[in-house]
């Protein structure tokens, strides 16, 4: 810990000396106090860092060798943060300059973003590949407001992100109407509903402790974004030469493991079940999480339904029965949810007709078990916690950390005769897996030569050219009928990273660039199948990819509309039996068509398109991959079927 210097000036003493100074000026004979030449402005009394250098002579000091933000960079470097994503802002100019000069623009390196939503989106994608946060900086007002939706996505998706918001807390230090407009009394309130923790450090030692604490909290399951509001003056004020500052040691928090009694009870239910099923949501935080789930599934020969909020289970493993979800859940006698975001939704169906109805799809006598770290941190206002699930065993714990203990408990409870029965179960499941894959391929053959290009064809053409590479698909696939997940061989943790979490459109493009940034040092071929509506939120991230030489193959799934909303309006028109041919109004992106190739080219990205004939796709993919392999981004604008 830093030891406070005995010569430091505390707030009360500084106020006293400042008052004396003011009295001396007004006491000059013959000069009215009101018209006296104002004294040079001195650092404000609040927040005051005890480590800050204060004027000790009447001569105006205009430079400094070491500012508070230099020490902040020391703290940030101690955490191993590789990048800082930011759109520049004056409220954190001190930290910005220290990062690029004092810090040498290395770990962290400054990544220039064109929108704070892009900054956070990049951090979101990066964290899901790298397993740790990068830093985002933003104005405490307009920057955090821009960033808000992306932070909410990360919060819903349980992703760690470090955010620093700049602010000018002392009203008398604001030098322009702009700084007044960009200052805020409680900046963290903008995001407080959907960050795990926030703080407002008022000294450098306070900053150091809060930054390390914030990192530690962000990385403890459930992982979530954290926020620090850092005063501009705390960044810019000089550090006293004799100030004693230390960077606190980071001790990672061990992930919470489930209660041993509950694990034993769950294991006994699983072993005795005739038709158990595992549902995985975000069960794998690291590559080990996949291994643990495979071991549990193979020990029990139990089917796994992977909701793919993360890459949890190999898609071509014979026990992967994701496409048979409804059938398996409805016949299961034991259902286990592993970090499932919406357990209630997994065991119920919902019908969106005039009367919204739901009904259980699970057997009424089915035993349900939930292991979920989300139960360890729930906030009230935003309703992402989903409908209350009635479960028989609720284990509030990190699934990845709990699975080894559960598997061991299962092994203890398995006898030889039971193992034999499980072997028969595997054979049946393997046959069902093969049959499902064949059915999927049969379905993909429909509209194979259609123009616009079918999403199945798009996926198959891509797979053909990447399957022998070290590839990483970093975009969500829900909007293209999940074809890649159904046709490709997903196996490694970085093969897929899930979606936005909060379903906020605008996530995909920046998250893909962020994920590609993380993949760059591993030499992976990063792929992004990009929806048109999503890219139009903040297309400037393409420039960021080009500027920072981030290799990324973006293939547009350009169905020329916000297609989900086309369908929503269609439902309303059909329900009212009127204007059923008008659902495109306000929901499509036509007249004029957006030329995404030109858009990308304007920002320095190699691009081709529009491609509407499926026969033109393969050679275009080949050319684009060559560009990406040279270390640059490339984009193909493919005109596609709706889903």
């Amino acid at each position: 810990m830093a030891i406070r210097n005995k010569n430091s000036v505390n707030r009360r003493n500084f106020l006293k000396s400042a008052a004396v100074g003011a009295a001396a000026i007004s006491a000059v004979p013959g000069v009215p106090a009101a018209s006296a030449t104002p004294a040079p402005r001195v650092p404000a009394a609040f927040p005051i860092s005890p480590e800050a250098e204060l004027p000790s002579s009447p001569a105006e000091i205009l430079t400094t060798d070491r500012s508070g933000s230099d020490f902040m960079v020391d703290v940030i470097k101690s955490l191993g943060i590789e990048y800082v994503c930011a759109n520049p802002g004056s409220s954190f100019r001190g930290l910005h300059e220290s990062i690029i000069n004092y810090g040498g623009n290395r770990s962290p390196e400054f990544i220039t973003c064109c929108h704070e939503e892009s900054s956070v989106g990049m951090a979101h994608g990066y964290a899901k590949i790298e397993g740790k946060p990068l830093l985002v900086m933003a104005h405490g007002t307009v920057g955090l407001q821009h960033a808000a939706m992306a932070v909410y996505n990360a919060y819903c998706d349980r992703v760690p992100i470090m955010i620093i918001g700049g602010n000018l807390i002392d009203a008398t230090s604001r030098i322009s109407q702009v700084e007044w407009a960009h200052s805020v009394q409680d900046a963290a309130s903008i995001l407080r509903d959907y960050v795990k923790w926030d703080d407002l450090p008022i000294s450098l030692t306070h900053f150091a402790e809060s930054t390390v604490r914030a990192y530690k909290m962000a990385m403890a399951p459930p992982m979530l974004p954290v926020l620090l509001i850092v005063d501009g003056e705390l960044q810019e004020n000089p550090i006293r030469a004799d100030a004693s500052l230390e960077v606190p040691r980071l001790t990672p928090t061990a992930p919470p493991v489930g209660d041993s009694g509950a694990i034993e009870e769950a294991a006994k239910l699983l072993v005795s079940a005739q038709n158990p099923v595992l549902i995985a949501g975000r069960s794998a935080r690291t590559p080990a999480g996949i291994t643990y789930l495979v071991e549990l599934a193979e020990t029990l020969q139990v089917p796994v339904i992977d909701q793919m909020d993360r890459m949890n289970f190999p898609t071509r493993h014979p026990l992967n029965q994701t496409e048979r979800s409804r059938e398996l859940i409805s016949s299961a006698d034991v259902i286990v949810g592993l970090e499932v975001n919406d357990f209630w939704g997994a065991v119920h169906s919902f019908r969106d007709q005039m009367e919204r109805t739901s009904r259980p799809i699970a057997r009424s006598d089915a035993k349900t078990i939930s292991i979920n770290s989300a139960n360890l941190f729930v906030k009230s206002n935003y309703q992402n916690f989903q409908r209350y699930p009635e479960v028989d065993i609720d284990i509030p714990a990190d699934t990845e950390a709990t699975l080894p203990a559960l598997t061991e408990a299962v092994k203890r409870n398995l006898d030889a005769s039971r193992k034999s029965a499980l072997s028969d179960r595997r054979a049946k499941l393997a046959a069902a897996h093969d049959e499902t894959l064949q059915r999927t391929r049969d379905a993909a053959a429909y509209a194979w030569d259609a123009s616009p290009v079918s999403t199945a064809r798009l996926s198959a053409e891509l797979w053909n050219q990447i399957k022998d590479e070290d590839w990483s698909l970093v975009s969500t696939v829900g909007f293209l009928s999940r074809w890649p997940l159904r046709l490709w061989d997903f196996e490694k943790s970085y093969h897929y990273i899930g979606g936005a979490g909060g379903y906020g459109i605008g996530y995909n493009a920046p998250a893909s660039v962020g994920a590609a940034l993380a993949n760059r040092k591993y030499g992976r071929l990063t792929l992004n199948i990009q929806c048109d509506g999503d890219l139009m939120y903040a297309p400037g991230v393409l420039w960021t990819a080009a500027h920072h030489r981030i290799p990324l193959l973006t293939v547009m799934h350009n169905n020329r509309g916000y297609h989900q909303e086309v369908m929503q309006v269609q439902i309303m028109a059909d329900r009212h039996s009127r204007g059923i041919d008008r659902a495109k109004i306000g929901t499509t992106l036509t007249d004029p068509h957006i030329d995404f190739a030109k858009l990308a080219q304007s920002m320095g990205v190699y691009a081709e398109g529009p491609i509407a004939d499926p026969k033109d796709l393969a050679p275009a993919i080949t050319r684009a991959i060559q560009v990406v392999k040279r270390g640059e981004p490339a984009l193909l604008d493919v005109i596609t079927q709706p889903r």
Binding site: D352, A445, W448, A460, V566, Q641
Partner: protein, 222 residues
């Protein structure tokens, strides 16, 4: 009853219990007043059976690559006995969820059974010879069918829109389903789209080719 006995023979340990259950069920069903098809229709709709089996129990099954039908079967004019029908509803196989006595009584199921056997379900709507596939393509796109089913009727697991091109159900069932759809599909009333327009759309879907066998497409075998 024969189904019960077959099951009982395979599972000797549970034979007594199963037979007992069957006789109890049978006795209850025989003791009640004659079944009421009208109430059966109401129960059929209340339980949302139509979501999977269609408004008239015509089913949604499609042939799979293995040559077998898959999906919810036709249950109108079912060949099952009443007892087997009740047993299937209570303990279904495949994807169908079970419906316990708390959700629907045996008496109500007897009404549903009567509804499914009623002659009114057999009414057919013939595809008019004037149906025009070119007009149908226009209506198919203009009325938003493509939104869930794709421009070629290929379907989508994401939207829940089933494969329609070419259609797997007769025109009569197609019209019935469009008017009173199951699941998430929004209803298209006669006020919004006429039978003649539906006939054109059906004709367009009929003109969609069957897909080539996936085994003949190298990219689908990687």
């Amino acid at each position: 009853m024969t189904t019960f006995i077959r099951i009982a023979a395979k599972k000797v340990k549970f034979a007594a219990f199963t037979l007992s259950l069957a006789f109890t069920c049978s006795a209850r069903l025989q003791a009640r007043p004659p079944a009421d098809p009208q109430n059966g229709k109401a129960v059929f709709e209340k339980l949302a059976c139509f979501r999977c089996h269609g408004s008239a129990g015509e089913g949604m099954s499609q042939p799979s690559s293995a040559g077998k039908d898959s999906g919810p079967p036709k249950i109108a004019s079912t060949h099952l006995s009443l007892q087997d029908f009740v047993h299937t509803v209570r303990e279904p196989r495949g994807q169908m969820p079970p419906f316990g006595p708390k959700q629907v009584s045996d008496a109500e199921l007897a009404d549903v059974y009567a509804f499914l056997q009623s002659a009114s379900l057999q009414k057919k709507i013939e595809l008019p010879s004037t149906a025009n596939s070119q007009n149908g393509e226009h209506f198919y796109n203009a009325f938003g069918c493509y939104e869930c089913h794709g421009y070629q009727g290929q379907g989508s697991v994401q939207t829940g829109g089933s494969r329609l091109g070419p259609p797997q159900i007769p025109f009569s069932g197609f019209v019935t389903y469009v008017r009173q759809p199951a699941g998430q599909m929004p209803p298209y009333t006669a006020k919004a789209v006429s039978d003649a327009q539906l006939a054109d759309i059906y004709s367009f879907l009929q003109s969609r080719p069957q897909a080539a066998p996936s085994k003949s497409i190298p990219l689908l075998n990687k």
